[in-house]
Amino acid sequence: MRKKLISAILITALAATSIVGCGGASGSAASSDSAGGSDASASNAEATADSGDVVTLTYWGWDSNYAWPMFEKYEETHPNVHFEATAVEWGDMLTKTQQALASGSELPTIIPMDVALIENWKDMDILEDLTDYGLDTSEYVDSAVEKCTTKDGKVIGMFTSVCPSGIAYKRDLAKEVFGTDDPEELQKMFTSYDDYVKNGAKAKAAGKYMFHSGQAVAEWFYFASDVETQTGSTLNYTKKMTDVLSKVIAMRDAGVLDTYQNGTAEGNATYADDEHIFYPCPDWAITYYIETNDPDGKGNWGLIKAPVSYSHGGSALGITTSATDEQKQAAYDFIHWAIAEQEGAEAGRDLAGFITTYKKLTTDANFTRRADEDWFAGQDISTLLYTEIANEMAVVKSSPWENSMVSVRNDVAQQLMDDKNMTLEDALQIGLEELQQLVTDDSITIE
């Protein structure tokens, strides 16, 4: 009896899942890979041809909060364009693309390129030069153009946002610890990195932490550092990491850093607590971190400039060379709409809090006026971010090994927090050994 029951369950499950599974497979067959034509351009062409006048654009990417709503918005006014978006985690993007490239499999039409990996995308040489489609580089923020330009002058993408960064704080805690929640007064109190260490004593005395994570401040110092990651074929590891980690150690030793790992669920939950005062804050973090993790915090946040104005994060959209001409043109039209046209740029601003890199709009105070200033008790954070900080922030050229450096930085910063006795020399040595494992190119010297 028991045997029969198990057999019946297994057979039913197999039959049911066959229906579901085959449904999925046949669904895919209807679109791009149906007749066995998995060759990239063949399948892309097929996707276009199958759907008549509708051009299908494929996309792999992690930023579902920006890309998905933008695609929907674009499809509303452009019924001849259809997007097929696949969610791929940030850390998997390069692996997936490299595997597809090596095996000759299909690549998406549009690829998002994170700032930390943009040099790797340049090296892969799979992206169209957007100037061939009419992109006028003089119309975009210089730093964004510079980051997207290859050695031979190709512009392989364009950044969707400018990403100026400041330091956000919780007003109630600032008032409790420093006696004021006024951004101007706090700005005067925190003009240098040392100020965060010195004033941190007050936070410590009140049982609070200045920052929730050593990794978070290391990330801030890293992006704010003016030391180039790579010069020629030399990775400036020691110089850059000394600059970053010495500041982390100073804060750690002053007892103003908590030990949460940055970006984890637990770390993110601190946005809503009453223990951690400050958070390094690029403009996109207002939507993604503050408003999401502290839903009851409207009006309780403030923003000041960091000692050195800097840019953090952002991603550029590029078009793969394996797409058909029709797809490439349609993809460029979308990218142009999303970044350089009023309607698309407004959608990016309103849906995801992205302020475009298109100069005419970036410098338009009416356009850059954020709708969520009520989270900051009416503080004019738009002018602070897009006029003051954006005009001051320096851009440091990134390296194809940026991701490895970032990975080492994250690991070492956490180890520094876990082992309070770890010295700068120890940390540098640990990081160096790790980096040597990651950098597989013999022509690169790690200094």
């Binding site: 198990i6 297994l10 499950a13 197999l14 049911a16 899942t17 066959s18 579901v20 599974g21 085959c22 449904g23 999925g24 497979a25 669904g27 895919s28 067959a29 679109s31 791009s32 890979d33 007749a35 066995g36 034509g37 998995s38 060759d39 494929t58 792999w60 992690w62 930023d63 579902s64 909060n65 097929e84 978006a85 696949t86 969610a87 791929v88 985690e89 940030w90 998997d92 692996t95 997936k96 595997q99 597809a100 090596a102 095996s103 000759g104 499999s105 299909e106 998406p108 970006g263 669920a265 637990e266 993110n268 939950a269 809503a272 607590d273 993604y288 999401t292 993790n293 839903p295």
Partner: protein
């Protein structure tokens, strides 16, 4: 007296180890019953009342399709994989043929090569078969499984006496009959163990779906869960509810097959 003390100490140690093992699962379930913002503000050891809301969020996404895909892939991989491995096991044991030794070595060698190394070749193969971006590459990979074959060769060797097979042949049974009626019942613990392992490996497989699947409709559970956790999604309650549901088939299959699994794993440990 001393025996009782020893028993009590053993029970306490086992009890502690059990709690340590089960606690993360319990916490996963318990956290999935909280609203995301509440998870880290409270001590989520006791369940809350938000589980249904989290389930609603999960079911509003592509979860059911991904779940179905994972079940389809895992069950088919398991059934065909085990069938092929058992038959190979029987064949390698019961037949004498040229290059049998070399074939055996070759099967062992396939176990030594990490899957990641062969993945590009496999992608090219699947592309030429025209099945890229479907679920089939996730299934085919388990059909000729080096470990499964090696496992079944060893299991058949020790569980099925050659005399039994020869008697059946003398009685006029054909090879399929011998395999189905004599060999399979003898190696049942081995089959169940391999079923569990193949199901588990296939269910948790991340690399192959990552490189082969480019459509949301074809997502399997590991990819779906990872996409939920993509950089800026912070609905931890819903993610944990998804993870809780994702572990259910594994729990069921282990409960059904636990006895045979232990038999299968311990078979051969004691030589008679």
């Amino acid at each position: 007296m001393a025996k009782n003390i020893r028993k009590t100490i053993t029970a306490i140690i086992l009890g502690i180890l059990t709690v340590i093992s089960i606690f993360p699962f319990w916490l996963m379930f318990s956290m999935s019953t909280y609203k995301s913002e509440m998870i880290f503000q409270n001590n989520p050891i006791l369940p809350s009342d938000y589980f249904l809301e989290n389930l609603k969020t999960i079911f509003a996404s592509n979860f059911v399709q991904s779940y179905g895909n994972s079940l389809f892939v895992s069950i088919l991989s398991m059934v065909i994989g085990v069938l092929v491995c058992s038959m190979v096991g029987y064949g390698m044991y019961a037949y004498k043929f040229r290059f049998k030794k070399q074939l055996n070595i070759f099967i062992m060698m396939t176990m030594m090569v990490p899957n990641q190394i062969g993945i590009i070749g496999y992608m090219i193969e699947m592309r030429n078969l025209g099945v890229n971006n479907t679920l089939w590459p996730l299934i085919f990979t388990w059909f000729a499984n080096g470990f499964g074959t090696y496992w079944m060769i060893s299991f058949v060797k020790q569980a099925v006496p050659m005399e039994l097979i020869e008697s059946a042949r003398i009685d006029g049974a054909n090879e399929l009959r011998i395999f189905g009626s004599i060999v399979v019942p003898c190696i049942r613990p081995g089959i169940v163990t391999l079923c569990l392992l193949l199901f588990l490996w296939s269910w948790n497989n991340y690399m192959l779906p990552l490189v082969f699947i480019n459509k949301q409709d074809n997502y399997t559970i590991p990819i779906f869960v990872k996409s939920l956790a993509s950089a800026f999604r912070t609905d931890y309650g819903a993610q944990l509810a998804g993870l809780t549901l994702a572990t259910i088939p594994l729990l069921i299959i282990f409960i059904i097959g636990s006895k045979s699994l232990i038999k299968g794993l311990t078979a051969g440990a004691v030589k008679g």
